[in-house]
Protein backbone atom coordinates (compact mmCIF):
# COMPACT_ATOMS: atom_id res chain seq x y z
CA UNK A 1 0.00 0.00 0.00
CA UNK A 2 1.31 3.39 -0.93
CA UNK A 3 -0.23 5.43 1.84
CA UNK A 4 -0.69 5.10 5.58
CA UNK A 5 -4.31 6.13 5.25
CA UNK A 6 -7.22 3.94 4.25
CA UNK A 7 -9.42 6.82 3.21
CA UNK A 8 -8.11 10.20 2.11
CA UNK A 9 -10.59 12.95 1.41
CA UNK A 10 -9.31 16.24 0.08
CA UNK A 11 -11.26 19.37 -0.82
CA UNK A 12 -14.46 17.39 -1.26
CA UNK A 13 -17.38 19.42 -2.55
CA UNK A 14 -20.88 18.13 -3.00
CA UNK A 15 -23.42 20.55 -4.42
CA UNK A 16 -27.02 19.74 -5.22
CA UNK A 17 -28.91 21.80 -7.79
CA UNK A 18 -32.01 23.40 -6.32
CA UNK A 19 -34.61 25.18 -8.44
CA UNK A 20 -35.42 28.59 -7.10
CA UNK A 21 -37.88 30.39 -9.33
CA UNK A 22 -36.40 30.39 -12.83
CA UNK A 23 -32.84 29.91 -11.67
CA UNK A 24 -31.09 26.80 -10.52
CA UNK A 25 -28.77 27.51 -7.64
CA UNK A 26 -26.37 25.11 -5.97
CA UNK A 27 -27.07 23.91 -2.43
CA UNK A 28 -23.61 23.52 -0.97
CA UNK A 29 -24.17 20.47 1.22
CA UNK A 30 -20.47 19.80 1.60
CA UNK A 31 -18.03 22.57 0.83
CA UNK A 32 -14.31 21.92 0.79
CA UNK A 33 -13.92 19.18 3.38
CA UNK A 34 -10.67 17.28 3.90
CA UNK A 35 -9.86 14.47 6.30
CA UNK A 36 -8.15 11.09 6.49
CA UNK A 37 -9.01 7.80 8.13
CA UNK A 38 -6.36 5.26 9.13
CA UNK A 39 -7.01 1.52 8.88
CA UNK A 40 -8.78 0.23 11.98
CA UNK A 41 -9.59 3.73 13.21
CA UNK A 42 -12.95 5.24 14.14
CA UNK A 43 -13.55 8.78 13.03
CA UNK A 44 -16.62 10.35 14.61
CA UNK A 45 -18.48 12.95 12.59
CA UNK A 46 -20.81 15.26 14.50
CA UNK A 47 -22.90 18.28 13.69
CA UNK A 48 -26.47 19.48 13.67
CA UNK A 49 -29.03 18.40 11.11
CA UNK A 50 -28.31 19.87 7.71
CA UNK A 51 -24.58 20.25 8.32
CA UNK A 52 -23.72 17.75 5.60
CA UNK A 53 -22.47 14.88 7.73
CA UNK A 54 -24.69 12.28 6.10
CA UNK A 55 -23.81 13.65 2.66
CA UNK A 56 -20.12 13.15 3.40
CA UNK A 57 -20.77 9.50 4.31
CA UNK A 58 -22.87 8.87 1.25
CA UNK A 59 -20.43 10.56 -1.09
CA UNK A 60 -17.57 8.41 0.25
CA UNK A 61 -19.53 5.33 -0.81
CA UNK A 62 -20.30 6.91 -4.16
CA UNK A 63 -23.99 6.98 -3.48
CA UNK A 64 -23.53 10.51 -4.85
CA UNK A 65 -21.04 11.66 -7.43
CA UNK A 66 -18.87 14.37 -5.87
CA UNK A 67 -19.00 17.83 -7.47
CA UNK A 68 -15.26 18.20 -7.07
CA UNK A 69 -12.40 17.12 -4.89
CA UNK A 70 -10.82 13.77 -4.44
CA UNK A 71 -11.63 10.69 -2.37
CA UNK A 72 -8.89 8.09 -2.27
CA UNK A 73 -9.44 4.61 -0.91
CA UNK A 74 -6.19 2.70 -0.36
CA UNK A 75 -4.46 5.28 -2.51
CA UNK A 76 -6.81 4.84 -5.46
CA UNK A 77 -9.25 7.44 -6.62
CA UNK A 78 -12.76 6.26 -5.73
CA UNK A 79 -14.45 7.77 -8.76
CA UNK A 80 -12.15 5.86 -11.10
CA UNK A 81 -12.53 2.55 -9.33
CA UNK A 82 -15.07 -0.04 -10.40
CA UNK A 83 -18.06 0.53 -8.14
CA UNK A 84 -18.65 -3.20 -7.77
CA UNK A 85 -15.13 -3.75 -6.43
CA UNK A 86 -15.38 -0.64 -4.29
CA UNK A 87 -18.52 -1.73 -2.46
CA UNK A 88 -16.83 -4.97 -1.50
CA UNK A 89 -14.36 -2.89 0.47
CA UNK A 90 -16.74 -0.35 1.98
CA UNK A 91 -20.26 -0.76 3.28
CA UNK A 92 -22.85 1.28 5.10
CA UNK A 93 -25.12 0.86 8.11
CA UNK A 94 -28.17 3.11 7.93
CA UNK A 95 -29.94 5.09 10.61
CA UNK A 96 -33.43 3.72 10.38
CA UNK A 97 -33.54 -0.03 10.91
CA UNK A 98 -37.19 -0.02 9.84
CA UNK A 99 -36.90 1.41 6.34
CA UNK A 100 -33.47 0.05 5.43
CA UNK A 101 -34.56 -3.59 5.36
CA UNK A 102 -36.75 -4.98 2.60
CA UNK A 103 -39.98 -6.17 4.23
CA UNK A 104 -40.49 -8.86 1.57
CA UNK A 105 -37.19 -10.59 2.13
CA UNK A 106 -36.30 -13.08 4.83
CA UNK A 107 -33.37 -12.31 7.06
CA UNK A 108 -31.36 -14.99 5.28
CA UNK A 109 -31.90 -13.28 1.92
CA UNK A 110 -31.20 -9.81 3.30
CA UNK A 111 -27.86 -10.88 4.73
CA UNK A 112 -27.18 -13.18 1.78
CA UNK A 113 -27.76 -10.55 -0.90
CA UNK A 114 -24.27 -9.00 -0.72
CA UNK A 115 -22.90 -12.55 -0.95
CA UNK A 116 -24.96 -13.10 -4.12
CA UNK A 117 -23.82 -9.83 -5.64
CA UNK A 118 -20.15 -10.53 -5.04
CA UNK A 119 -20.45 -14.31 -5.66
CA UNK A 120 -18.81 -15.23 -2.40
CA UNK A 121 -20.01 -18.82 -2.20
CA UNK A 122 -19.88 -21.92 -4.37
CA UNK A 123 -23.15 -23.60 -3.41
CA UNK A 124 -26.37 -23.05 -1.44
CA UNK A 125 -25.09 -24.86 1.59
CA UNK A 126 -22.07 -22.59 1.83
CA UNK A 127 -24.27 -19.51 1.51
CA UNK A 128 -26.52 -20.71 4.30
CA UNK A 129 -23.52 -21.48 6.46
CA UNK A 130 -22.07 -18.01 5.91
CA UNK A 131 -25.36 -16.30 6.72
CA UNK A 132 -25.74 -18.30 9.92
CA UNK A 133 -22.22 -17.48 11.04
CA UNK A 134 -22.85 -13.77 10.33
CA UNK A 135 -26.05 -13.89 12.34
CA UNK A 136 -24.21 -15.44 15.24
CA UNK A 137 -21.49 -12.78 14.97
CA UNK A 138 -24.02 -10.03 15.54
CA UNK A 139 -25.83 -11.92 18.28
CA UNK A 140 -28.93 -13.02 16.40
CA UNK A 141 -30.54 -16.39 16.94
CA UNK A 142 -29.70 -18.59 13.92
CA UNK A 143 -33.18 -20.12 14.05
CA UNK A 144 -34.63 -16.77 13.00
CA UNK A 145 -33.06 -16.88 9.51
CA UNK A 146 -36.39 -17.62 7.83
CA UNK A 147 -38.21 -14.74 9.50
CA UNK A 148 -39.04 -11.37 8.02
CA UNK A 149 -37.76 -8.02 9.24
CA UNK A 150 -41.04 -6.93 10.82
CA UNK A 151 -40.83 -9.78 13.30
CA UNK A 152 -37.83 -8.21 14.99
CA UNK A 153 -37.40 -5.36 17.44
CA UNK A 154 -35.48 -2.19 16.54
CA UNK A 155 -32.23 -3.35 18.12
CA UNK A 156 -32.40 -6.72 16.38
CA UNK A 157 -33.12 -5.07 13.05
CA UNK A 158 -30.08 -2.89 13.44
CA UNK A 159 -28.11 -6.09 14.02
CA UNK A 160 -29.46 -7.48 10.73
CA UNK A 161 -28.31 -4.29 8.99
CA UNK A 162 -24.87 -4.67 10.52
CA UNK A 163 -24.64 -8.36 9.53
CA UNK A 164 -25.50 -7.35 5.96
CA UNK A 165 -22.70 -4.78 5.96
CA UNK A 166 -20.26 -7.35 7.36
CA UNK A 167 -21.17 -10.01 4.77
CA UNK A 168 -18.53 -8.92 2.26
CA UNK A 169 -15.90 -8.51 4.99
CA UNK A 170 -15.28 -4.81 4.26
CA UNK A 171 -12.33 -2.74 5.41
CA UNK A 172 -14.39 0.36 5.99
CA UNK A 173 -17.96 0.90 7.18
CA UNK A 174 -19.86 4.17 7.14
CA UNK A 175 -22.22 4.11 10.12
CA UNK A 176 -24.88 6.76 9.59
CA UNK A 177 -26.57 7.41 12.96
CA UNK A 178 -26.72 3.67 13.69
CA UNK A 179 -27.94 3.99 17.28
CA UNK A 180 -30.12 7.11 17.13
CA UNK A 181 -33.36 5.20 16.60
CA UNK A 182 -32.72 2.77 19.46
CA UNK A 183 -33.74 2.82 23.09
CA UNK A 184 -31.09 3.79 25.62
CA UNK A 185 -30.69 0.28 27.03
CA UNK A 186 -30.35 -1.21 23.52
CA UNK A 187 -27.97 1.54 22.35
CA UNK A 188 -25.25 0.25 24.65
CA UNK A 189 -25.60 -3.29 23.25
CA UNK A 190 -25.09 -2.05 19.69
CA UNK A 191 -22.24 0.33 20.60
CA UNK A 192 -20.43 -2.54 22.33
CA UNK A 193 -20.95 -4.72 19.28
CA UNK A 194 -19.40 -2.11 17.00
CA UNK A 195 -16.37 -2.01 19.27
CA UNK A 196 -16.06 -5.80 19.47
CA UNK A 197 -16.33 -6.22 15.70
CA UNK A 198 -13.65 -3.62 15.16
CA UNK A 199 -11.33 -5.36 17.61
CA UNK A 200 -11.91 -8.71 15.83
CA UNK A 201 -11.80 -7.62 12.22
CA UNK A 202 -9.80 -4.40 12.25
CA UNK A 203 -12.29 -2.39 10.22
CA UNK A 204 -12.29 1.40 10.10
CA UNK A 205 -15.50 3.29 10.84
CA UNK A 206 -16.81 6.65 9.90
CA UNK A 207 -19.27 7.02 12.76
CA UNK A 208 -21.84 9.70 12.01
CA UNK A 209 -24.08 10.72 14.92
CA UNK A 210 -25.49 13.71 16.69
CA UNK A 211 -25.21 12.24 20.19
CA UNK A 212 -21.85 13.57 21.31
CA UNK A 213 -21.52 11.26 24.31
CA UNK A 214 -21.91 8.16 22.14
CA UNK A 215 -19.49 9.54 19.56
CA UNK A 216 -16.92 10.34 22.21
CA UNK A 217 -17.24 6.83 23.56
CA UNK A 218 -16.63 5.05 20.27
CA UNK A 219 -14.31 7.38 18.33
CA UNK A 220 -10.55 7.76 18.20
CA UNK A 221 -10.86 11.16 16.57
CA UNK A 222 -13.86 13.45 16.15
CA UNK A 223 -14.64 15.90 13.37
CA UNK A 224 -17.18 18.69 13.84
CA UNK A 225 -19.10 20.02 10.86
CA UNK A 226 -21.23 23.13 10.44
CA UNK A 227 -23.10 24.03 7.26
CA UNK A 228 -20.94 21.91 4.99
CA UNK A 229 -17.63 23.02 6.46
CA UNK A 230 -15.32 21.23 8.80
CA UNK A 231 -14.79 23.37 11.89
CA UNK A 232 -12.60 21.28 14.12
CA UNK A 233 -10.94 17.89 14.09
CA UNK A 234 -9.01 16.39 17.01
CA UNK A 235 -8.38 13.34 19.11
CA UNK A 236 -11.57 12.38 20.89
CA UNK A 237 -10.53 13.33 24.46
CA UNK A 238 -8.70 16.44 23.31
CA UNK A 239 -11.80 17.69 21.49
CA UNK A 240 -14.12 17.02 24.40
CA UNK A 241 -11.86 18.51 27.06
CA UNK A 242 -10.25 21.30 25.13
CA UNK A 243 -12.52 22.47 22.32
CA UNK A 244 -11.06 25.46 20.49
CA UNK A 245 -13.67 26.44 17.94
CA UNK A 246 -16.51 28.60 19.34
CA UNK A 247 -19.05 26.37 17.62
CA UNK A 248 -17.64 23.22 19.20
CA UNK A 249 -17.61 24.96 22.55
CA UNK A 250 -21.27 25.85 22.39
CA UNK A 251 -22.18 22.46 20.96
CA UNK A 252 -20.47 20.70 23.86
CA UNK A 253 -21.99 22.98 26.45
CA UNK A 254 -25.46 22.29 25.04
CA UNK A 255 -25.17 18.54 25.51
CA UNK A 256 -27.43 17.54 28.40
CA UNK A 257 -25.20 15.77 30.89
CA UNK A 258 -26.87 12.88 32.73
CA UNK A 259 -25.42 13.96 36.05
CA UNK A 260 -27.29 16.44 38.26
CA UNK A 261 -24.19 17.87 39.95
CA UNK A 262 -22.36 18.67 36.71
CA UNK A 263 -25.58 19.89 35.11
CA UNK A 264 -26.21 22.36 37.94
CA UNK A 265 -22.69 23.73 37.87
CA UNK A 266 -22.08 23.89 34.16
CA UNK A 267 -22.67 27.12 32.34
CA UNK A 268 -24.41 26.68 29.02
CA UNK A 269 -23.37 28.79 26.07
CA UNK A 270 -26.76 29.25 24.45
CA UNK A 271 -26.46 30.01 20.76
CA UNK A 272 -28.74 32.71 19.45
CA UNK A 273 -30.99 31.96 16.52
CA UNK A 274 -31.03 29.10 14.08
CA UNK A 275 -28.67 27.58 11.57
CA UNK A 276 -28.83 29.74 8.41
CA UNK A 277 -30.33 28.20 5.29
CA UNK A 278 -27.65 26.49 3.18
CA UNK A 279 -29.14 28.28 0.18
CA UNK A 280 -28.41 31.66 1.72
CA UNK A 281 -25.07 30.93 3.28
CA UNK A 282 -23.35 33.87 4.99
CA UNK A 283 -20.14 35.04 3.35
CA UNK A 284 -16.85 33.91 4.83
CA UNK A 285 -17.18 31.70 7.87
CA UNK A 286 -20.72 30.23 7.97
CA UNK A 287 -20.79 30.33 11.76
CA UNK A 288 -20.12 34.06 12.06
CA UNK A 289 -23.83 34.97 12.29
CA UNK A 290 -24.12 33.13 15.61
CA UNK A 291 -20.55 33.59 16.86
CA UNK A 292 -19.75 36.02 19.65
CA UNK A 293 -16.15 36.43 18.53
CA UNK A 294 -17.01 37.33 14.94
CA UNK A 295 -14.96 40.13 13.39
CA UNK A 296 -14.81 41.73 9.96
CA UNK A 297 -12.28 39.21 8.83
CA UNK A 298 -14.79 36.41 9.40
CA UNK A 299 -17.13 37.91 6.81
CA UNK A 300 -14.34 38.17 4.25
CA UNK A 301 -13.14 34.59 3.94
CA UNK A 302 -13.54 31.10 5.35
CA UNK A 303 -10.58 30.28 7.58
CA UNK A 304 -8.44 27.26 6.67
CA UNK A 305 -8.40 24.18 8.86
CA UNK A 306 -4.97 24.51 10.46
CA UNK A 307 -3.05 22.34 12.88
CA UNK A 308 -2.78 23.87 16.37
CA UNK A 309 -0.48 21.16 17.69
CA UNK A 310 -0.70 17.37 17.93
CA UNK A 311 -3.22 17.05 15.15
CA UNK A 312 -5.77 19.40 16.72
CA UNK A 313 -7.15 21.08 13.62
CA UNK A 314 -9.27 24.21 13.92
CA UNK A 315 -10.82 26.46 11.28
CA UNK A 316 -11.24 29.83 12.99
CA UNK A 317 -9.67 33.26 12.59
CA UNK A 318 -9.91 34.27 16.21
CA UNK A 319 -9.28 31.22 18.35
Amino acid sequence: MSSEYLVEVSHLKQYFPVRSGFKTIPLKAVDDVSFNIKPGETLGLVGESGCGKTTVGRTLLRLYKPTSGSIKFEGEEVTEKNIHALRKEMQMVFQDPYSSLNPRMTVEDIIGEPLDVHKLYSNRAERHEKVISLMETVGLNAEHATRYAHEFSGGQRQRIGIARALAVDPKFIVCDEPVSALDVSIQAQVVNMFEDLQAERGMAYLFIAHDLLVVQHISDRIAVMYLGHMMELAESDELMNNPKHPYTQSLLSAVPIPDPETARNSKRIILEGDVPSPLRMPSGCPFRTRCKYATEQCAMAMPELTDRGEGHMVACWNR
Binding site: Q216, A254, I257, P260, R268
Partner: protein, 332 residues
Protein backbone atom coordinates in the same frame (compact mmCIF):
# COMPACT_ATOMS: atom_id res chain seq x y z
CA UNK B 1 -63.51 24.65 44.71
CA UNK B 2 -62.13 22.40 47.37
CA UNK B 3 -58.85 23.13 49.05
CA UNK B 4 -56.02 21.43 47.30
CA UNK B 5 -52.34 21.00 47.84
CA UNK B 6 -51.58 19.31 44.57
CA UNK B 7 -52.46 20.76 41.21
CA UNK B 8 -52.57 17.27 39.76
CA UNK B 9 -52.89 14.05 41.72
CA UNK B 10 -52.84 10.79 39.77
CA UNK B 11 -54.01 7.83 41.81
CA UNK B 12 -53.60 4.21 40.71
CA UNK B 13 -54.09 5.06 37.03
CA UNK B 14 -54.74 2.15 34.66
CA UNK B 15 -55.01 2.62 30.90
CA UNK B 16 -55.93 -0.20 28.55
CA UNK B 17 -55.98 -0.47 24.77
CA UNK B 18 -58.19 -2.99 23.00
CA UNK B 19 -56.38 -4.66 20.11
CA UNK B 20 -57.00 -7.68 17.91
CA UNK B 21 -54.41 -9.58 19.84
CA UNK B 22 -55.98 -8.85 23.21
CA UNK B 23 -55.99 -6.05 25.75
CA UNK B 24 -52.77 -4.10 26.13
CA UNK B 25 -52.27 -2.73 29.61
CA UNK B 26 -50.08 0.25 28.84
CA UNK B 27 -50.34 1.88 32.27
CA UNK B 28 -50.69 -0.33 35.34
CA UNK B 29 -51.30 1.60 38.51
CA UNK B 30 -49.31 4.81 38.27
CA UNK B 31 -49.35 7.27 41.17
CA UNK B 32 -47.86 10.71 41.29
CA UNK B 33 -48.79 14.18 42.38
CA UNK B 34 -47.45 17.57 41.61
CA UNK B 35 -47.50 20.81 43.59
CA UNK B 36 -48.16 24.08 41.74
CA UNK B 37 -45.06 25.48 40.04
CA UNK B 38 -42.98 22.32 40.42
CA UNK B 39 -41.42 20.16 37.72
CA UNK B 40 -41.87 16.42 37.42
CA UNK B 41 -39.78 14.33 35.04
CA UNK B 42 -41.00 11.00 33.70
CA UNK B 43 -38.30 8.84 32.12
CA UNK B 44 -38.63 5.51 30.39
CA UNK B 45 -37.99 3.63 27.19
CA UNK B 46 -40.48 3.12 24.40
CA UNK B 47 -43.40 1.06 25.69
CA UNK B 48 -42.88 2.11 29.29
CA UNK B 49 -46.22 3.91 29.33
CA UNK B 50 -44.79 7.37 29.89
CA UNK B 51 -46.56 9.01 26.98
CA UNK B 52 -49.80 7.12 27.58
CA UNK B 53 -49.79 8.43 31.15
CA UNK B 54 -49.72 12.01 29.89
CA UNK B 55 -52.34 11.32 27.21
CA UNK B 56 -54.54 9.77 29.90
CA UNK B 57 -54.40 12.97 31.97
CA UNK B 58 -55.48 14.95 28.91
CA UNK B 59 -57.91 12.21 27.84
CA UNK B 60 -56.63 12.27 24.29
CA UNK B 61 -56.14 8.52 23.99
CA UNK B 62 -56.67 6.72 20.68
CA UNK B 63 -60.17 5.37 20.07
CA UNK B 64 -59.35 1.89 21.32
CA UNK B 65 -57.86 3.17 24.55
CA UNK B 66 -59.60 4.00 27.79
CA UNK B 67 -58.79 4.75 31.41
CA UNK B 68 -59.72 1.45 33.02
CA UNK B 69 -59.12 2.39 36.62
CA UNK B 70 -57.89 4.97 39.06
CA UNK B 71 -58.41 8.69 39.44
CA UNK B 72 -56.86 11.85 38.08
CA UNK B 73 -57.55 14.67 40.52
CA UNK B 74 -57.15 18.19 39.18
CA UNK B 75 -57.26 20.59 42.12
CA UNK B 76 -59.08 17.91 44.08
CA UNK B 77 -61.69 17.08 41.41
CA UNK B 78 -61.68 13.75 39.60
CA UNK B 79 -61.49 14.65 35.91
CA UNK B 80 -61.92 11.07 34.71
CA UNK B 81 -65.59 11.55 35.58
CA UNK B 82 -65.93 14.71 33.51
CA UNK B 83 -67.89 14.69 30.24
CA UNK B 84 -66.45 15.63 26.85
CA UNK B 85 -67.60 19.24 27.07
CA UNK B 86 -66.05 19.82 30.45
CA UNK B 87 -62.84 18.15 29.29
CA UNK B 88 -62.68 20.48 26.26
CA UNK B 89 -62.62 23.34 28.75
CA UNK B 90 -59.89 21.60 30.71
CA UNK B 91 -57.53 21.13 27.79
CA UNK B 92 -55.66 24.29 26.97
CA UNK B 93 -57.16 26.27 29.84
CA UNK B 94 -56.10 24.17 32.83
CA UNK B 95 -53.58 21.82 31.30
CA UNK B 96 -51.73 21.99 27.98
CA UNK B 97 -49.54 19.55 26.14
CA UNK B 98 -46.71 19.99 23.67
CA UNK B 99 -45.66 17.10 21.49
CA UNK B 100 -42.44 15.70 20.18
CA UNK B 101 -42.69 16.68 16.57
CA UNK B 102 -43.69 20.32 16.08
CA UNK B 103 -44.19 19.79 12.34
CA UNK B 104 -46.93 17.21 12.64
CA UNK B 105 -48.64 18.87 15.58
CA UNK B 106 -49.16 22.21 13.84
CA UNK B 107 -51.78 22.42 11.12
CA UNK B 108 -50.00 23.15 7.82
CA UNK B 109 -52.96 24.92 6.16
CA UNK B 110 -53.51 27.60 8.79
CA UNK B 111 -51.23 30.47 9.77
CA UNK B 112 -49.39 30.45 13.06
CA UNK B 113 -51.50 33.39 14.19
CA UNK B 114 -54.80 31.65 13.39
CA UNK B 115 -53.79 28.60 15.39
CA UNK B 116 -52.68 30.70 18.34
CA UNK B 117 -55.85 32.82 18.28
CA UNK B 118 -58.04 29.70 18.13
CA UNK B 119 -57.01 28.69 21.64
CA UNK B 120 -57.49 32.20 22.99
CA UNK B 121 -60.94 32.64 21.38
CA UNK B 122 -62.07 29.27 22.66
CA UNK B 123 -61.14 29.73 26.28
CA UNK B 124 -61.46 33.44 26.95
CA UNK B 125 -64.00 36.06 25.96
CA UNK B 126 -61.56 38.12 23.97
CA UNK B 127 -62.53 39.19 20.45
CA UNK B 128 -60.53 38.54 17.28
CA UNK B 129 -58.47 41.71 17.54
CA UNK B 130 -57.55 41.14 21.19
CA UNK B 131 -56.79 37.51 20.42
CA UNK B 132 -54.34 38.58 17.75
CA UNK B 133 -52.68 40.95 20.19
CA UNK B 134 -52.44 38.09 22.66
CA UNK B 135 -50.91 35.87 19.94
CA UNK B 136 -48.24 38.47 19.23
CA UNK B 137 -47.62 38.93 22.95
CA UNK B 138 -47.15 35.17 23.38
CA UNK B 139 -44.77 34.91 20.41
CA UNK B 140 -42.69 37.72 21.90
CA UNK B 141 -42.66 35.90 25.22
CA UNK B 142 -41.28 32.69 23.71
CA UNK B 143 -38.60 34.59 21.84
CA UNK B 144 -39.84 34.42 18.26
CA UNK B 145 -38.29 37.30 16.34
CA UNK B 146 -40.53 39.68 14.35
CA UNK B 147 -43.77 38.33 15.89
CA UNK B 148 -45.97 40.76 13.91
CA UNK B 149 -44.70 39.19 10.70
CA UNK B 150 -44.67 35.63 12.01
CA UNK B 151 -48.37 35.52 12.90
CA UNK B 152 -49.19 35.58 9.19
CA UNK B 153 -46.74 32.84 8.28
CA UNK B 154 -47.41 29.13 7.86
CA UNK B 155 -45.67 26.39 9.85
CA UNK B 156 -43.50 25.29 6.90
CA UNK B 157 -41.88 28.73 6.80
CA UNK B 158 -40.42 28.23 10.27
CA UNK B 159 -37.48 26.13 11.46
CA UNK B 160 -37.94 23.23 13.88
CA UNK B 161 -36.87 25.22 16.91
CA UNK B 162 -39.18 28.10 15.98
CA UNK B 163 -42.10 25.70 15.51
CA UNK B 164 -41.54 24.25 18.96
CA UNK B 165 -41.54 27.80 20.34
CA UNK B 166 -44.87 28.39 18.61
CA UNK B 167 -46.21 25.16 20.16
CA UNK B 168 -45.14 26.40 23.58
CA UNK B 169 -46.73 29.79 22.93
CA UNK B 170 -49.96 28.08 21.95
CA UNK B 171 -49.89 25.83 24.99
CA UNK B 172 -49.34 28.74 27.36
CA UNK B 173 -51.67 31.25 25.69
CA UNK B 174 -54.44 30.64 28.25
CA UNK B 175 -52.10 30.41 31.22
CA UNK B 176 -52.70 26.78 32.19
CA UNK B 177 -51.71 25.45 35.61
CA UNK B 178 -49.95 22.48 34.11
CA UNK B 179 -47.80 22.09 31.02
CA UNK B 180 -47.14 18.55 29.84
CA UNK B 181 -44.11 18.34 27.56
CA UNK B 182 -44.00 14.99 25.79
CA UNK B 183 -40.45 14.57 24.46
CA UNK B 184 -40.34 18.30 23.65
CA UNK B 185 -36.79 18.32 22.31
CA UNK B 186 -36.27 14.85 20.84
CA UNK B 187 -36.72 16.05 17.27
CA UNK B 188 -34.42 19.05 17.75
CA UNK B 189 -30.67 19.56 17.53
CA UNK B 190 -28.69 19.92 20.74
CA UNK B 191 -28.09 23.64 20.48
CA UNK B 192 -31.80 24.22 19.81
CA UNK B 193 -32.69 21.74 22.56
CA UNK B 194 -30.69 23.83 25.01
CA UNK B 195 -32.60 26.96 23.90
CA UNK B 196 -36.00 25.30 24.34
CA UNK B 197 -35.21 23.82 27.77
CA UNK B 198 -33.91 27.18 28.95
CA UNK B 199 -37.06 28.83 27.61
CA UNK B 200 -39.31 26.39 29.47
CA UNK B 201 -37.52 27.06 32.75
CA UNK B 202 -37.68 30.81 32.17
CA UNK B 203 -41.40 30.72 31.46
CA UNK B 204 -42.00 28.59 34.53
CA UNK B 205 -40.37 31.30 36.65
CA UNK B 206 -42.46 33.99 34.97
CA UNK B 207 -45.83 32.24 34.78
CA UNK B 208 -45.54 29.74 37.61
CA UNK B 209 -47.10 26.73 35.90
CA UNK B 210 -46.25 23.16 36.90
CA UNK B 211 -44.39 21.16 34.26
CA UNK B 212 -44.49 17.44 33.56
CA UNK B 213 -41.62 16.60 31.25
CA UNK B 214 -41.74 13.19 29.59
CA UNK B 215 -38.52 12.00 27.99
CA UNK B 216 -36.20 9.06 27.34
CA UNK B 217 -33.13 11.26 27.70
CA UNK B 218 -31.67 11.14 31.20
CA UNK B 219 -29.54 14.18 30.38
CA UNK B 220 -32.56 16.39 29.82
CA UNK B 221 -34.12 15.77 33.21
CA UNK B 222 -30.93 15.76 35.30
CA UNK B 223 -30.87 19.50 35.71
CA UNK B 224 -34.45 20.72 35.68
CA UNK B 225 -36.73 18.44 37.71
CA UNK B 226 -37.86 18.61 41.35
CA UNK B 227 -38.94 14.99 41.19
CA UNK B 228 -38.19 12.20 38.75
CA UNK B 229 -40.23 9.09 38.04
CA UNK B 230 -38.65 6.14 36.27
CA UNK B 231 -41.19 3.98 34.43
CA UNK B 232 -40.94 0.49 33.00
CA UNK B 233 -43.72 -1.70 31.63
CA UNK B 234 -46.46 0.72 32.64
CA UNK B 235 -45.41 0.89 36.27
CA UNK B 236 -43.34 3.28 38.34
CA UNK B 237 -40.02 1.63 39.28
CA UNK B 238 -38.53 4.43 41.22
CA UNK B 239 -39.22 8.00 42.24
CA UNK B 240 -37.06 10.59 43.94
CA UNK B 241 -35.06 13.76 43.44
CA UNK B 242 -32.49 13.95 40.66
CA UNK B 243 -29.74 13.30 43.20
CA UNK B 244 -31.54 10.21 44.54
CA UNK B 245 -32.05 8.75 41.08
CA UNK B 246 -28.59 9.51 39.70
CA UNK B 247 -26.42 8.98 42.77
CA UNK B 248 -28.35 6.39 44.80
CA UNK B 249 -30.51 4.41 42.37
CA UNK B 250 -32.50 1.80 44.26
CA UNK B 251 -34.12 -0.14 41.41
CA UNK B 252 -32.20 -2.61 39.25
CA UNK B 253 -33.64 -1.05 36.08
CA UNK B 254 -32.50 2.47 37.01
CA UNK B 255 -29.07 1.11 37.89
CA UNK B 256 -28.84 -0.67 34.56
CA UNK B 257 -29.97 2.39 32.68
CA UNK B 258 -27.33 4.57 34.32
CA UNK B 259 -24.60 2.00 33.62
CA UNK B 260 -25.55 1.75 29.96
CA UNK B 261 -25.25 5.43 29.01
CA UNK B 262 -21.88 6.82 27.96
CA UNK B 263 -20.74 9.68 30.20
CA UNK B 264 -17.55 11.63 30.56
CA UNK B 265 -16.53 9.39 33.48
CA UNK B 266 -16.88 5.96 31.90
CA UNK B 267 -15.19 7.07 28.68
CA UNK B 268 -12.80 4.40 27.42
CA UNK B 269 -14.47 1.74 29.51
CA UNK B 270 -16.88 -0.76 28.06
CA UNK B 271 -20.53 0.10 28.43
CA UNK B 272 -22.62 -2.29 30.46
CA UNK B 273 -25.83 -2.77 28.49
CA UNK B 274 -29.10 -4.09 29.85
CA UNK B 275 -29.52 -7.50 28.25
CA UNK B 276 -32.58 -8.75 26.40
CA UNK B 277 -35.16 -6.79 24.48
CA UNK B 278 -37.70 -4.18 25.58
CA UNK B 279 -40.92 -5.39 27.08
CA UNK B 280 -43.77 -6.76 24.98
CA UNK B 281 -46.90 -5.32 26.54
CA UNK B 282 -49.05 -8.10 25.09
CA UNK B 283 -47.06 -10.64 26.99
CA UNK B 284 -46.34 -9.10 30.36
CA UNK B 285 -44.48 -11.13 32.95
CA UNK B 286 -46.52 -12.13 35.96
CA UNK B 287 -44.22 -10.57 38.53
CA UNK B 288 -41.92 -7.59 38.18
CA UNK B 289 -42.05 -6.28 34.59
CA UNK B 290 -38.27 -5.95 34.50
CA UNK B 291 -37.38 -9.42 35.80
CA UNK B 292 -36.77 -11.09 32.38
CA UNK B 293 -33.91 -8.62 31.80
CA UNK B 294 -32.73 -8.28 35.38
CA UNK B 295 -29.40 -9.82 36.44
CA UNK B 296 -30.37 -9.83 40.09
CA UNK B 297 -33.80 -11.43 39.61
CA UNK B 298 -34.88 -13.77 42.39
CA UNK B 299 -37.65 -16.36 42.60
CA UNK B 300 -40.15 -13.93 44.07
CA UNK B 301 -39.59 -11.44 41.23
CA UNK B 302 -41.09 -13.94 38.77
CA UNK B 303 -44.38 -14.27 40.59
CA UNK B 304 -45.05 -11.21 42.74
CA UNK B 305 -45.23 -7.57 41.69
CA UNK B 306 -43.06 -5.56 44.09
CA UNK B 307 -44.67 -2.74 46.10
CA UNK B 308 -43.10 0.68 46.31
CA UNK B 309 -40.89 0.94 49.34
CA UNK B 310 -39.46 3.97 51.10
CA UNK B 311 -35.67 3.99 50.68
CA UNK B 312 -34.93 7.63 51.42
CA UNK B 313 -36.71 10.75 52.56
CA UNK B 314 -38.55 11.37 49.29
CA UNK B 315 -37.13 8.37 47.54
CA UNK B 316 -39.20 5.25 46.80
CA UNK B 317 -38.49 2.19 44.68
CA UNK B 318 -40.42 -0.91 43.69
CA UNK B 319 -37.81 -3.63 43.74
CA UNK B 320 -37.60 -6.85 45.76
CA UNK B 321 -33.86 -6.32 46.18
CA UNK B 322 -34.60 -3.55 48.67
CA UNK B 323 -36.81 -5.88 50.70
CA UNK B 324 -34.04 -8.46 50.68
CA UNK B 325 -31.51 -5.86 51.79
CA UNK B 326 -33.73 -4.67 54.63
CA UNK B 327 -34.33 -8.23 55.76
CA UNK B 328 -30.60 -8.96 55.75
CA UNK B 329 -29.83 -5.78 57.66
CA UNK B 330 -32.48 -6.58 60.24
CA UNK B 331 -31.03 -10.04 60.77
CA UNK B 332 -27.37 -8.99 60.74
Amino acid sequence: MADYKYVIDVQDLHTTFKTDKGDVHAVNGVNFRLEPGKTLGIVGESGSGKSVTSYSIMQILANNGRISGGKVLYKGEDITKWDAKKMAGFRGKCCSIIFQDPMTSLNPVFTIGYQLEEAVLLHTNRNRKEAKERAIEMLTLVGVNEPEKRVDQYPHELSGGMRQRVMIAMALACEPDILIADEPTTALDVTIQAQILELMQDLQKKLGMAIIIVTHDLGVIASMCDEIIVMYGGRVCERGTADDIFYAPAHEYTKGLLRSIPTTENNGQRLVPIGGTPINLLNMPKGCAFCPRCDAAMKICLTEVPEELQVGENHRAACWMNVKKMYEEANA
